[in-house]
Amino acid sequence: MAAKGFVEISVEGCKGCGLCVHHCPVKCLSLKMDDTNSFGLHYAYLSNEETCIGCANCAVICPDAAITVYRQSKAV
């Protein structure tokens, strides 16, 4: 089944603070520990694409507005 939602995270806009990872209710975000952006920061990414529910909690808490959120359109 397709995931209810998905997010796009700006690699360069992310500061690796981890607040989105901490507040995601289904724990589908992680910090990329084996890579950094050009600022040397471990950026956040959608590590479990199947479970995102598109709740936007991550985007709301992200201080740097680095996250865009999409949710499955309601079936018409």
Binding site: K15, G18, A59, P63, A66, V69, Y70
Partner: protein, 253 residues
């Protein structure tokens, strides 16, 4: 975008496409973002003027796509008084840290609240002087370690942390006063509603609107951004209780 999906959140257009200089996880960024979301949602980007302080948020004008003036340390309320009185139809706000608003700028703050000036104060209380290297502020908690209170704040020596929201709510010139926090998605969403309410009361010309934000400073507190959530949620909120301290519109709607 993928087929069958719709956009539910994107960065507000009123927040300039610039990298904010704040440390990772700093709520200054969060507050900038949600003020700009409210300005965008209300469609008032051409009618809003901010006044930035001295402190970490001195460069707020580099991020918010509205008109701005930067004030000398502590004097944002005096500058905003002049702007609002000469341009009464504009939405005017100050954006000030606790060192700026509650130490060097205490007089300007109290007197502009007492005069009932019609602007909004966003007071970012992170219990420390972030910009200058983590010195003790009037709002530093009892026992809290800072670079100038290395053994923890001693209230016998330097007095008690100032509860600004409770203080200014006593002044007749204040129309709306609330303390907010940005530590969870639910609280950020709630804070946006309060910002909108403050702007609406400002539009009605009812007096000063004062929003204190219990904020963080991972760098000054010497902890990670996620750890700062615990200090905010447990220590800060115990001494700085959330809630509406005053609302002159409470019985009228």
């Amino acid at each position: 975008m993928k087929d069958g999906y719709e956009l539910v959140y994107k960065r507000p257009a009123t927040l300039l496409d610039a990298r904010m200089h704040y440390c990772p996880g700093c709520f200054h960024s969060t507050m900038h973002k949600i003020i700009m979301e409210v300005v965008e949602e209300m469609g008032i980007e051409e009618d809003t003027i901010g006044v930035s302080p001295v402190g970490c948020s001195v460069f707020a004008y580099n991020y918010m796509d509205i008109d701005f003036q930067q004030a000398a340390h502590g004097r944002a309320c005096a500058v905003a008084t002049g702007i609002k009185r000469s341009l009464p139809d504009k939405f005017v706000f100050t954006y000030q840290g606790d060192g700026d608003l509650a130490a060097i700028g205490t007089a300007e703050t109290i007197h502009s609240c007492n005069r009932g000036e019609n602007f909004t104060i966003f007071f970012i209380n992170n219990a420390i002087y972030g910009m200058t290297g983590g010195q003790m502020a009037p709002t530093t908690l009892e026992g809290q370690k800072t670079s100038t209170s290395p053994y923890g704040r001693d209230i016998k020596n330097v007095g008690h942390p100032l509860r600004m929201a409770e203080m200014v709510s006593q002044l007749p010139g204040v129309a709306y006063c609330e303390r907010l926090v940005l530590n969870t998605p639910a609280n950020v969403r709630k804070a946006k509603k309060s910002i909108k309410k403050a702007f609406e009361i400002q539009k009605q010309g009812l007096g000063m609107t004062f929003l204190e934000v219990v904020s963080n400073c991972p760098s000054g507190w010497k902890c990670s951004p996620v750890e700062s959530l615990d200090f905010v949620g447990e220590d800060m909120l115990k001494y700085y209780p959330l809630g509406v301290k005053k609302d002159v519109t409470a019985n009228s709607n």
